[in-house]
Subunit: 272 residues, 2 copies
């Protein structure tokens, strides 16, 4: 059982929800399983207003954080897990079947981290850009003939999994029982596990974004690639940093290095 | 993972659902997790009609069975599991936390049985009478401050549990890892486990009802208790039979005995 105090270190993030009933259902599932921290990214105004003012709306809706971007919503989080089905896209990060999420969340919380579970809009799910902020993609084991879950039900199933599986005796001995991962592009499952296990204190998303900004600036300053490639580079860089999962300390070092490089590049713009 | 073919031996039973959106959500969760057998007991006609005719309604709604009573809906089932929260009532049968349901269902299906998962109406949940048809009560681990789940979400969480946990390698060795049960009134957890393990082929609900009928007739014929106690006796008898979980063969024997007793009682009504 996930201890109650730990649930306050898990954020549920809804990206651009469109249906007030779904927002209400997501909030109710959170209340059912004892979670309180809801963030809503760029909500459509009328359904968001309607959901919050509905009779019997859970209290946590009133105290929900509202942000313009997913980057802001997950800024403090050290492990960002996107949710979705894989039937219609090729994932760019490691895929974790939902039953394997508990131990990862457990380890993250035990080392003082903060976790976000991110749900896309009912219409599109998470976009490729949304997913680039995620360390991993959680796959709910749905039937291939009807893979797409209702938002409120998906939230309920994911939170149930965390409440019932994290901090189970069986999962507290990761060395004896390795996690079974499906493997994403560019990384083996043992890499992800090793990286997360090694990072006693993974850097929060905000720090990774700051590092990415300096690295990108460096790429541009260095004339690394044509300007038409900048968006793609930015995207790939975000994914890479989340795959590497550096600690705060790692990040400070890398940042120091890149700042130095950048300073040099700008001082001697001709590459002398 | 629960093999797909096995899912056709698990019935989802909704008792008197009132909200067409909830019926639709329950059906969708079934489709998401690959279940097809839905039974609806005494549905309110307008929402039932509305749910079935909704745009995009899953096919399984069209082929759902409709019965007047719960007894009919679960007649062929050898393990009937009610669902609900325990905050407002004292259960009369063993309580199984949802994370412990998988191994029981697995064993039941492996021995050729059929399982029903029963959900009460949104307003009242399962009544005491409904519950008397259940071998056990499944408890979803919700927060005590907001224990009551939305119907569609409760169905989703229960089916997710079955799909993801039953037939897991860890649960296939029941002797090595005993199930952790909360214990219901009048029975220890090991009793339930032993009884279910011993019954290579538990008798279906219909057979238990036939036996209960003969036993009740015998009680009356024997002047066992005042007629004001008949309803209570009938209720307790149903619970008892489900707790004992006799096999078909056990049931035939007990039935034979009671038929004999009854014949004697009727032949010599004065107890001579």
């Amino acid at each position: 059982m996930l201890p109650e105090a730990q649930r306050d270190y898990i954020d549920v993030v809804l990206v651009s929800p469109r249906n007030p009933l779904n927002i209400g259902a997501a909030a109710r599932a959170m209340a059912n399983f004892g979670f309180r921290r809801l963030s809503v990214v760029a909500p459509y105004a009328p359904p968001w207003r309607e959901a919050r003012s509905a009779v019997g709306a859970p209290e946590l809706l009133a105290s929900a954080a509202e942000t313009e971007t997913l980057a802001e919503a997950v800024a403090e989080c050290t492990l960002v897990a996107g949710t979705g089905t894989l039937t219609y896209r090729k994932p760019e990060q490691p895929v974790v079947p939902l039953p394997g999420l508990g131990p990862l969340v457990e380890r993250e919380l035990a080392s003082g981290g903060r976790v976000a579970l991110v749900f896309g809009s009912e219409k599109h799910g998470l976009t490729r850009d949304d997913l680039s902020y995620c360390h991993l993609l959680v796959e709910i084991p749905t039937d291939s003939r009807q893979p797409s879950m209702n938002l409120g039900q998906a939230v309920a199933v994911c939170l149930y999994e965390l409440v019932s599986r994290a901090f189970e005796p069986a999962s507290s001995a990761p060395d004896e029982k390795p996690l079974a991962f499906a493997v994403g592009v560019g990384q083996t499952s043992s890499q992800l596990e090793r990286n997360f296990a090694a990072s006693s204190h993974a850097a929060p998303s905000r720090t990774l974004d700051r590092l990415a900004g300096v690295v990108e600036e460096t790429m541009i300053a260095a004339g690394y690639s044509p300007s038409t490639m900048q968006a793609t580079n930015r995207h790939d860089l975000r994914l890479l940093l989340r795959r590497l999962a550096p600690t705060e300390r790692d990040t400070r070092r890398i940042l120091g290095l890149f700042r130095r490089i950048l300073w040099r590049l700008k001082r001697f713009p001709k590459g002398r």
